[in-house]
Amino acid sequence: MTELDPEGLVFRDDPSKRSAFFAGQADVGRLLGMITALTSEIAMLRARLDTHERLAAEGGFDRAKVEAYRPDATALAERMTDDQAMIGRVFKPLSDELDRLLEEPAVQKTLLETHR
Protein backbone atom coordinates (compact mmCIF):
# COMPACT_ATOMS: atom_id res chain seq x y z
CA MET A 1 0.00 0.00 0.00
CA THR A 2 1.58 3.26 -1.05
CA GLU A 3 -1.49 5.50 -1.16
CA LEU A 4 -2.06 7.96 1.68
CA ASP A 5 -5.09 7.15 3.81
CA PRO A 6 -7.73 9.86 4.48
CA GLU A 7 -5.63 11.15 7.39
CA GLY A 8 -2.61 11.51 5.11
CA LEU A 9 -0.83 8.50 6.60
CA VAL A 10 0.86 5.65 4.80
CA PHE A 11 1.87 2.32 6.33
CA ARG A 12 3.32 -0.98 5.17
CA ASP A 13 0.68 -3.60 4.31
CA ASP A 14 1.15 -5.13 7.74
CA PRO A 15 2.53 -2.39 9.99
CA SER A 16 3.08 -4.87 12.83
CA LYS A 17 5.70 -6.70 10.75
CA ARG A 18 9.22 -5.50 10.02
CA SER A 19 10.04 -4.28 6.53
CA ALA A 20 10.78 -7.22 4.23
CA PHE A 21 12.68 -6.32 1.08
CA PHE A 22 13.42 -9.86 -0.06
CA ALA A 23 10.06 -11.54 -0.54
CA GLY A 24 10.35 -15.26 0.12
CA GLN A 25 14.00 -14.85 1.07
CA ALA A 26 13.80 -13.41 4.55
CA ASP A 27 17.23 -14.87 5.24
CA VAL A 28 18.81 -12.37 2.85
CA GLY A 29 17.42 -9.54 4.97
CA ARG A 30 18.62 -11.21 8.14
CA LEU A 31 22.03 -11.84 6.60
CA LEU A 32 22.41 -8.15 5.76
CA GLY A 33 21.42 -7.33 9.34
CA MET A 34 24.14 -9.68 10.56
CA ILE A 35 26.72 -8.15 8.21
CA THR A 36 25.81 -4.72 9.53
CA ALA A 37 26.30 -5.89 13.12
CA LEU A 38 29.52 -7.68 12.24
CA THR A 39 30.89 -4.56 10.58
CA SER A 40 30.12 -2.65 13.76
CA GLU A 41 32.11 -5.21 15.77
CA ILE A 42 35.04 -4.93 13.37
CA ALA A 43 34.91 -1.14 13.70
CA MET A 44 34.93 -1.45 17.50
CA LEU A 45 37.90 -3.86 17.38
CA ARG A 46 39.79 -1.52 15.04
CA ALA A 47 39.14 1.36 17.45
CA ARG A 48 40.38 -0.77 20.34
CA LEU A 49 43.50 -1.69 18.44
CA ASP A 50 44.06 1.95 17.60
CA THR A 51 43.74 2.78 21.31
CA HIS A 52 46.36 0.15 22.16
CA GLU A 53 48.74 1.48 19.56
CA ARG A 54 48.35 5.07 20.68
CA LEU A 55 48.80 4.14 24.34
CA ALA A 56 51.79 1.97 23.49
CA ALA A 57 53.39 4.97 21.83
CA GLU A 58 52.84 6.89 25.06
CA GLY A 59 54.64 4.26 27.11
CA GLY A 60 52.21 1.42 27.68
CA PHE A 61 48.73 0.29 28.50
CA ASP A 62 46.66 -1.86 30.75
CA ARG A 63 42.95 -2.64 30.64
CA ALA A 64 42.01 0.40 32.75
CA LYS A 65 43.96 2.74 30.50
CA VAL A 66 42.31 1.28 27.41
CA GLU A 67 38.80 1.61 28.88
CA ALA A 68 39.48 5.19 29.94
CA TYR A 69 41.03 6.26 26.65
CA ARG A 70 39.01 8.68 24.50
CA PRO A 71 40.40 9.85 21.16
CA ASP A 72 41.05 13.58 20.80
CA ALA A 73 39.69 15.43 17.78
CA THR A 74 42.64 14.50 15.55
CA ALA A 75 42.57 10.84 16.53
CA LEU A 76 38.80 10.77 16.07
CA ALA A 77 39.06 12.26 12.58
CA GLU A 78 41.71 9.67 11.67
CA ARG A 79 39.47 6.90 12.97
CA MET A 80 36.49 8.19 11.01
CA THR A 81 38.50 8.22 7.79
CA ASP A 82 39.71 4.72 8.54
CA ASP A 83 36.15 3.56 9.29
CA GLN A 84 34.78 5.04 6.04
CA ALA A 85 37.48 3.17 4.13
CA MET A 86 36.61 -0.07 5.94
CA ILE A 87 32.89 0.40 5.21
CA GLY A 88 33.76 1.17 1.60
CA ARG A 89 35.66 -2.12 1.29
CA VAL A 90 32.97 -4.23 2.98
CA PHE A 91 30.14 -2.81 0.87
CA LYS A 92 32.14 -2.43 -2.34
CA PRO A 93 30.13 -5.06 -4.27
CA LEU A 94 26.98 -2.97 -3.76
CA SER A 95 28.62 0.29 -4.66
CA ASP A 96 30.15 -1.30 -7.79
CA GLU A 97 26.76 -2.61 -8.83
CA LEU A 98 25.32 0.89 -8.51
CA ASP A 99 28.09 2.27 -10.71
CA ARG A 100 27.31 -0.40 -13.27
CA LEU A 101 23.61 0.55 -13.26
CA LEU A 102 24.59 4.15 -13.87
CA GLU A 103 26.79 3.24 -16.80
CA GLU A 104 24.63 0.71 -18.59
CA PRO A 105 21.81 2.16 -20.69
CA ALA A 106 20.55 -1.41 -21.27
CA VAL A 107 19.81 -1.89 -17.59
CA GLN A 108 18.08 1.45 -17.46
CA LYS A 109 16.04 0.50 -20.48
CA THR A 110 14.91 -2.74 -18.82
CA LEU A 111 14.05 -0.79 -15.70
CA LEU A 112 11.84 1.55 -17.65
CA GLU A 113 10.29 -1.34 -19.54
CA THR A 114 9.19 -3.07 -16.36
CA HIS A 115 7.93 0.34 -15.32
CA ARG A 116 5.53 0.51 -18.25
Binding site: V10, F11, F21, L32, T36, S40, R70, R79, L98, L102
Partner: protein
Protein backbone atom coordinates in the same frame (compact mmCIF):
# COMPACT_ATOMS: atom_id res chain seq x y z
CA UNK B 1 34.28 8.01 30.77
CA UNK B 2 33.64 10.87 28.38
CA UNK B 3 32.36 14.15 29.80
CA UNK B 4 28.58 14.42 29.46
CA UNK B 5 26.71 17.66 28.66
CA UNK B 6 24.25 17.21 31.53
CA UNK B 7 23.70 14.85 34.44
CA UNK B 8 21.25 12.51 32.69
CA UNK B 9 23.12 11.74 29.45
CA UNK B 10 24.05 8.03 29.43
CA UNK B 11 27.80 7.49 29.48
CA UNK B 12 29.42 5.37 26.80
CA UNK B 13 32.26 2.93 27.46
CA UNK B 14 35.26 2.83 25.14
CA UNK B 15 33.65 0.12 22.98
CA UNK B 16 30.15 1.64 22.99
CA UNK B 17 31.58 4.98 21.87
CA UNK B 18 33.40 3.16 19.05
CA UNK B 19 30.18 1.42 17.94
CA UNK B 20 28.31 4.74 17.99
CA UNK B 21 30.97 6.44 15.90
CA UNK B 22 30.77 3.58 13.43
CA UNK B 23 26.98 3.59 13.09
CA UNK B 24 27.16 7.30 12.31
CA UNK B 25 29.84 6.50 9.72
CA UNK B 26 27.69 3.78 8.20
CA UNK B 27 24.67 6.08 7.95
CA UNK B 28 26.93 8.68 6.36
CA UNK B 29 28.19 6.15 3.84
CA UNK B 30 24.68 5.07 2.88
CA UNK B 31 23.47 8.66 2.66
CA UNK B 32 26.47 10.41 1.13
CA UNK B 33 28.15 7.67 -0.95
CA UNK B 34 25.36 5.38 -2.12
CA UNK B 35 22.23 7.51 -2.11
CA UNK B 36 23.61 10.11 -4.57
CA UNK B 37 24.02 7.28 -7.09
CA UNK B 38 20.31 6.40 -6.84
CA UNK B 39 19.54 10.09 -7.16
CA UNK B 40 21.62 10.31 -10.34
CA UNK B 41 20.03 7.18 -11.77
CA UNK B 42 16.48 8.39 -11.14
CA UNK B 43 16.72 12.16 -11.64
CA UNK B 44 19.39 12.32 -14.32
CA UNK B 45 19.02 9.07 -16.28
CA UNK B 46 15.48 7.72 -15.91
CA UNK B 47 13.52 10.97 -15.55
CA UNK B 48 14.85 12.51 -18.80
CA UNK B 49 14.11 9.26 -20.69
CA UNK B 50 10.55 9.31 -19.40
CA UNK B 51 10.32 13.01 -20.21
CA UNK B 52 11.33 12.29 -23.81
CA UNK B 53 8.18 10.17 -24.01
CA UNK B 54 6.13 13.01 -22.59
CA UNK B 55 5.88 11.46 -19.13
CA UNK B 56 6.66 12.93 -15.72
CA UNK B 57 8.83 10.83 -13.43
CA UNK B 58 7.71 12.92 -10.44
CA UNK B 59 4.10 11.92 -11.04
CA UNK B 60 5.07 8.28 -11.47
CA UNK B 61 7.25 7.98 -8.37
CA UNK B 62 5.27 5.07 -6.94
CA UNK B 63 5.65 3.02 -10.11
CA UNK B 64 9.32 4.01 -10.30
CA UNK B 65 9.80 2.79 -6.76
CA UNK B 66 8.30 -0.56 -7.71
CA UNK B 67 10.63 -0.85 -10.70
CA UNK B 68 13.68 0.01 -8.62
CA UNK B 69 12.62 -2.63 -6.09
CA UNK B 70 13.12 -5.26 -8.79
CA UNK B 71 16.82 -4.56 -8.56
CA UNK B 72 18.65 -6.61 -5.94
CA UNK B 73 20.99 -3.64 -5.42
CA UNK B 74 18.07 -1.39 -4.53
CA UNK B 75 16.64 -3.89 -2.07
CA UNK B 76 20.08 -4.30 -0.54
CA UNK B 77 20.40 -0.53 -0.11
CA UNK B 78 16.93 -0.42 1.48
CA UNK B 79 17.74 -3.26 3.85
CA UNK B 80 21.10 -1.76 4.85
CA UNK B 81 19.48 1.61 5.53
CA UNK B 82 16.97 -0.08 7.82
CA UNK B 83 19.67 -2.28 9.39
CA UNK B 84 21.87 0.77 10.14
CA UNK B 85 18.94 2.43 11.89
CA UNK B 86 18.22 -0.76 13.85
CA UNK B 87 21.89 -1.05 14.73
CA UNK B 88 21.79 2.47 16.12
CA UNK B 89 18.84 1.67 18.41
CA UNK B 90 20.35 -1.68 19.38
CA UNK B 91 23.71 -0.23 20.37
CA UNK B 92 22.17 2.74 22.20
CA UNK B 93 19.66 0.47 23.96
CA UNK B 94 22.46 -1.79 25.17
CA UNK B 95 24.39 1.20 26.53
CA UNK B 96 21.32 2.57 28.34
CA UNK B 97 20.27 -0.80 29.80
CA UNK B 98 23.74 -1.30 31.28
CA UNK B 99 23.30 1.84 33.41
CA UNK B 100 19.52 2.10 33.74
CA UNK B 101 19.33 1.71 37.56
CA UNK B 102 21.94 4.46 37.89
CA UNK B 103 20.02 6.75 35.50
CA UNK B 104 16.78 6.14 37.38
CA UNK B 105 18.53 6.91 40.66
CA UNK B 106 19.96 10.11 39.20
CA UNK B 107 16.53 11.16 37.91
CA UNK B 108 14.86 10.68 41.28
CA UNK B 109 17.75 12.22 43.29
CA UNK B 110 18.28 15.04 40.84
CA UNK B 111 17.83 18.56 42.09
CA UNK B 112 14.31 19.81 42.38
CA UNK B 113 13.14 21.87 39.46
CA UNK B 114 9.97 21.54 37.47
CA UNK B 115 7.51 18.69 37.70
CA UNK B 116 6.10 15.68 35.87
CA UNK B 117 2.46 14.75 35.64
CA UNK B 118 1.64 11.42 33.99
CA UNK B 119 -1.78 9.98 33.22
CA UNK B 120 -2.28 6.21 33.47
CA UNK B 121 -5.40 6.49 31.27
CA UNK B 122 -3.53 8.24 28.45
CA UNK B 123 -3.68 6.64 24.99
CA UNK B 124 -1.48 8.05 22.22
CA UNK B 125 -3.17 8.89 18.90
CA UNK B 126 -3.17 6.39 16.02
CA UNK B 127 -0.50 8.27 14.06
CA UNK B 128 1.94 7.65 16.93
CA UNK B 129 0.81 4.21 18.06
CA UNK B 130 0.53 2.24 14.81
CA UNK B 131 4.28 1.98 14.15
CA UNK B 132 7.39 2.86 16.15
CA UNK B 133 8.43 6.18 14.60
CA UNK B 134 12.06 6.16 13.33
CA UNK B 135 12.05 2.43 14.20
CA UNK B 136 12.75 3.31 17.84
CA UNK B 137 11.67 0.12 19.63
CA UNK B 138 8.60 0.82 21.76
CA UNK B 139 7.91 4.22 20.19
CA UNK B 140 7.58 7.56 22.00
CA UNK B 141 4.93 6.28 24.39
CA UNK B 142 6.88 3.33 25.84
CA UNK B 143 6.75 3.50 29.63
CA UNK B 144 7.57 0.80 32.16
CA UNK B 145 5.94 2.65 35.02
CA UNK B 146 6.82 4.92 37.92
CA UNK B 147 10.44 6.07 37.87
CA UNK B 148 11.16 4.71 34.37
CA UNK B 149 13.33 6.97 32.22
CA UNK B 150 14.58 4.43 29.68
CA UNK B 151 12.89 5.76 26.56
CA UNK B 152 14.06 9.30 27.35
CA UNK B 153 17.65 8.15 27.77
CA UNK B 154 17.54 6.11 24.57
CA UNK B 155 16.05 9.00 22.60
CA UNK B 156 18.54 11.54 23.98
CA UNK B 157 21.61 9.43 23.28
CA UNK B 158 20.40 8.41 19.83
CA UNK B 159 19.37 11.96 18.87
CA UNK B 160 22.94 13.10 19.32
CA UNK B 161 23.97 10.39 16.83
CA UNK B 162 20.93 10.65 14.55
CA UNK B 163 21.43 14.32 13.75
CA UNK B 164 25.14 13.72 13.27
CA UNK B 165 26.06 16.93 15.09
CA UNK B 166 23.90 19.15 12.87
CA UNK B 167 21.42 20.08 15.58
CA UNK B 168 23.72 21.50 18.24
CA UNK B 169 25.77 18.46 19.26
CA UNK B 170 24.79 16.55 22.38
CA UNK B 171 22.35 19.23 23.57
CA UNK B 172 20.38 19.05 20.31
CA UNK B 173 19.06 22.52 20.89
CA UNK B 174 19.53 24.39 17.60
CA UNK B 175 15.80 24.08 16.86
CA UNK B 176 14.94 25.68 20.21
CA UNK B 177 17.30 28.59 19.60
CA UNK B 178 15.97 28.96 16.06
CA UNK B 179 12.37 29.15 17.33
CA UNK B 180 13.37 31.90 19.75
CA UNK B 181 15.21 33.74 16.96
CA UNK B 182 11.99 33.64 14.95
CA UNK B 183 10.15 35.13 17.92
CA UNK B 184 12.76 37.89 18.24
CA UNK B 185 12.68 38.52 14.47
CA UNK B 186 8.92 38.95 14.43
CA UNK B 187 8.13 40.26 17.92
CA UNK B 188 11.28 41.98 19.22
CA UNK B 189 9.46 43.78 22.03
CA UNK B 190 7.67 40.81 23.58
CA UNK B 191 8.58 38.66 26.59
CA UNK B 192 6.30 35.70 27.31
CA UNK B 193 5.32 34.85 30.88
CA UNK B 194 3.79 31.41 30.20
CA UNK B 195 5.12 29.13 27.47
CA UNK B 196 3.90 25.77 26.17
CA UNK B 197 6.01 23.41 24.03
CA UNK B 198 3.79 20.81 22.32
CA UNK B 199 5.54 17.50 21.55
CA UNK B 200 8.60 18.30 23.65
CA UNK B 201 10.04 14.73 23.72
CA UNK B 202 12.98 15.04 26.18
CA UNK B 203 12.86 18.84 26.25
CA UNK B 204 15.75 19.55 23.86
CA UNK B 205 14.05 22.66 22.46
CA UNK B 206 11.97 23.41 25.57
CA UNK B 207 15.07 23.82 27.72
CA UNK B 208 16.77 26.08 25.18
CA UNK B 209 13.65 28.27 24.94
CA UNK B 210 13.30 28.45 28.75
CA UNK B 211 16.85 29.79 28.97
CA UNK B 212 15.85 33.05 27.24
CA UNK B 213 12.90 33.74 29.53
CA UNK B 214 14.05 32.93 33.09
CA UNK B 215 10.95 34.57 34.61
CA UNK B 216 8.52 32.52 32.53
CA UNK B 217 6.58 29.44 33.60
CA UNK B 218 7.39 26.82 30.99
CA UNK B 219 5.37 23.68 30.18
CA UNK B 220 6.11 20.77 27.88
CA UNK B 221 3.68 18.05 26.81
CA UNK B 222 4.24 14.73 25.12
CA UNK B 223 2.81 11.22 25.01
CA UNK B 224 5.29 9.14 27.05
CA UNK B 225 5.87 9.08 30.81
CA UNK B 226 9.43 7.76 30.50
CA UNK B 227 10.30 10.57 28.06
CA UNK B 228 8.87 13.19 30.40
CA UNK B 229 10.52 11.92 33.61
CA UNK B 230 13.84 11.95 31.81
CA UNK B 231 13.09 15.40 30.35
CA UNK B 232 12.41 16.90 33.78
CA UNK B 233 15.64 15.59 35.29
CA UNK B 234 17.58 16.64 32.19
CA UNK B 235 16.30 20.21 32.22
CA UNK B 236 16.73 20.46 36.00
CA UNK B 237 20.38 19.49 35.62
CA UNK B 238 20.71 22.24 33.01
CA UNK B 239 19.24 24.75 35.46
CA UNK B 240 15.71 24.99 34.04
CA UNK B 241 12.48 24.32 35.96
CA UNK B 242 10.01 22.96 33.43
CA UNK B 243 6.60 21.42 34.04
CA UNK B 244 6.05 18.33 31.93
CA UNK B 245 2.74 16.55 31.48
CA UNK B 246 1.50 13.59 29.48
CA UNK B 247 -1.09 15.06 27.16
CA UNK B 248 -2.30 15.07 23.58
CA UNK B 249 -1.64 18.40 21.85
CA UNK B 250 -5.02 18.09 20.14
CA UNK B 251 -6.80 18.42 23.47
CA UNK B 252 -5.07 19.45 26.69
CA UNK B 253 -6.36 20.17 30.19
CA UNK B 254 -4.90 23.69 30.44
CA UNK B 255 -7.38 26.54 30.93
CA UNK B 256 -8.44 28.87 28.10
CA UNK B 257 -6.05 31.77 27.57
CA UNK B 258 -3.38 30.38 29.86
CA UNK B 259 -0.32 30.94 27.64
CA UNK B 260 1.46 33.84 25.92
CA UNK B 261 3.47 31.59 23.64
CA UNK B 262 2.65 28.13 22.25
CA UNK B 263 5.26 26.39 20.11
CA UNK B 264 6.07 23.05 18.57
CA UNK B 265 9.32 21.86 17.03
CA UNK B 266 9.50 19.09 14.44
CA UNK B 267 6.15 17.70 15.63
CA UNK B 268 3.59 18.47 12.93
CA UNK B 269 5.13 16.05 10.39
CA UNK B 270 4.50 13.26 12.90
CA UNK B 271 0.75 13.93 13.18
CA UNK B 272 -2.04 13.70 10.54
CA UNK B 273 -4.42 15.74 8.34
CA UNK B 274 -7.05 15.36 11.03
CA UNK B 275 -4.75 16.35 13.89
CA UNK B 276 -3.32 19.51 12.26
CA UNK B 277 -6.45 21.69 12.50
CA UNK B 278 -7.20 20.28 15.95
CA UNK B 279 -3.73 21.25 17.19
CA UNK B 280 -4.10 24.76 15.72
CA UNK B 281 -7.52 25.24 17.32
CA UNK B 282 -6.20 23.97 20.66
CA UNK B 283 -3.24 26.38 20.50
CA UNK B 284 -5.72 29.18 19.73
CA UNK B 285 -7.84 28.27 22.74
CA UNK B 286 -4.78 28.13 25.01
CA UNK B 287 -3.44 31.56 24.04
CA UNK B 288 -4.51 34.81 25.65
CA UNK B 289 -5.43 37.58 23.18
CA UNK B 290 -2.18 38.91 21.74
CA UNK B 291 -0.45 35.57 22.35
CA UNK B 292 1.82 34.01 19.72
CA UNK B 293 1.91 30.53 18.20
CA UNK B 294 4.98 29.23 16.32
CA UNK B 295 5.65 25.86 14.68
CA UNK B 296 9.02 24.73 13.37
CA UNK B 297 9.08 22.08 10.65
CA UNK B 298 11.35 20.40 8.12
CA UNK B 299 11.73 22.71 5.12
CA UNK B 300 10.54 20.17 2.53
CA UNK B 301 7.64 20.45 0.09
CA UNK B 302 6.30 17.64 -2.00
CA UNK B 303 5.38 19.71 -5.07
CA UNK B 304 9.00 20.80 -5.58
CA UNK B 305 10.53 17.40 -4.68
CA UNK B 306 12.36 15.62 -7.51
CA UNK B 307 11.35 12.09 -8.54
CA UNK B 308 14.16 10.62 -6.41
CA UNK B 309 13.20 12.76 -3.40
CA UNK B 310 9.67 11.43 -3.71
CA UNK B 311 10.86 7.81 -3.93
CA UNK B 312 13.14 8.48 -0.94
CA UNK B 313 10.23 10.13 0.90
CA UNK B 314 8.09 7.05 0.37
CA UNK B 315 10.89 4.91 1.75
CA UNK B 316 11.15 7.19 4.80
CA UNK B 317 7.41 6.96 5.35
CA UNK B 318 7.07 3.19 4.92
CA UNK B 319 10.35 1.83 6.24
CA UNK B 320 11.70 4.42 8.67
CA UNK B 321 8.16 4.57 10.06
CA UNK B 322 7.29 8.21 9.40
CA UNK B 323 3.67 7.67 8.29
CA UNK B 324 2.86 11.38 7.81
CA UNK B 325 6.15 12.26 6.07
CA UNK B 326 4.54 12.72 2.64
CA UNK B 327 1.16 13.96 3.89
CA UNK B 328 2.79 16.73 5.91
CA UNK B 329 4.72 17.91 2.86
CA UNK B 330 1.48 18.12 0.90
CA UNK B 331 -0.62 19.80 3.60
CA UNK B 332 -1.32 23.53 3.47
CA UNK B 333 -0.49 24.03 7.13
CA UNK B 334 -0.59 27.84 6.90
CA UNK B 335 -4.23 27.56 5.83
CA UNK B 336 -5.10 25.45 8.88
CA UNK B 337 -3.54 28.21 11.00
CA UNK B 338 -5.68 30.90 9.34
CA UNK B 339 -8.75 28.68 9.59
CA UNK B 340 -8.16 28.33 13.33
CA UNK B 341 -8.57 32.09 13.60
CA UNK B 342 -4.98 33.30 13.80
CA UNK B 343 -4.02 36.73 12.47
CA UNK B 344 -0.68 38.02 11.15
CA UNK B 345 0.14 34.53 9.88
CA UNK B 346 3.65 34.26 8.45
CA UNK B 347 5.35 31.26 6.92
CA UNK B 348 8.86 31.00 5.59
CA UNK B 349 12.36 29.93 6.42
CA UNK B 350 14.38 30.76 9.51
CA UNK B 351 18.15 30.24 9.30
CA UNK B 352 19.27 27.84 12.04
CA UNK B 353 21.16 29.52 14.90
CA UNK B 354 23.08 28.20 17.89
CA UNK B 355 22.19 31.26 19.96
CA UNK B 356 19.23 33.60 19.47
CA UNK B 357 19.79 37.36 19.64
CA UNK B 358 16.97 39.83 20.19
CA UNK B 359 19.03 42.63 18.66
CA UNK B 360 20.06 40.69 15.54
CA UNK B 361 18.95 41.87 12.10
CA UNK B 362 15.86 39.73 11.23
CA UNK B 363 16.76 36.92 8.80
CA UNK B 364 13.35 35.24 8.44
CA UNK B 365 12.99 34.82 4.68
CA UNK B 366 10.88 33.35 1.91
CA UNK B 367 13.95 31.64 0.41
CA UNK B 368 14.08 27.90 1.15
CA UNK B 369 17.27 26.09 2.06
CA UNK B 370 18.45 22.62 3.09
CA UNK B 371 17.36 20.85 6.29
CA UNK B 372 19.39 21.89 9.36
CA UNK B 373 20.59 25.05 7.54
CA UNK B 374 17.11 26.56 7.62
CA UNK B 375 13.87 25.47 9.27
CA UNK B 376 10.36 26.12 8.03
CA UNK B 377 8.64 28.45 10.48
CA UNK B 378 4.95 29.18 10.70
CA UNK B 379 3.63 31.71 13.19
CA UNK B 380 0.50 33.65 13.99
CA UNK B 381 -1.07 35.88 16.61
CA UNK B 382 -4.33 35.40 18.47
CA UNK B 383 -6.37 38.59 18.24
Amino acid sequence: MSPTPHAMMPEATHDEAARFAHVVGLKNFLMRQLEPKWRTLVDEKLAPQLASEGRDAKEEYRALERSLARLGAYRTWQQLTVSAQEEMWRSVGECVDRQLPELERRASDSEAGGSVRTDPQFRPPRYLSTVDIHLMPGGYADDRGEGDVRQGAVFDKAAALYHMGRNGGELNDVRGHTLVQHYFDRFPGMTPQRILDMGCTVGHSTTAIAGYFPQAEVHGIDVGGALLRYARARSASLGASIHYSQQNAEQTDFADGSFDLVVSSAVLHETSFKALPRIMREAHRLLRPGGVMMHLEVPLRFDTASAWNRVRGLFEALHNNEPFWIGAQQADIAQTVRDAGFADVASGYQPAVRVADRAAEPRFTSTPGPVHVVWYLLSGVKR
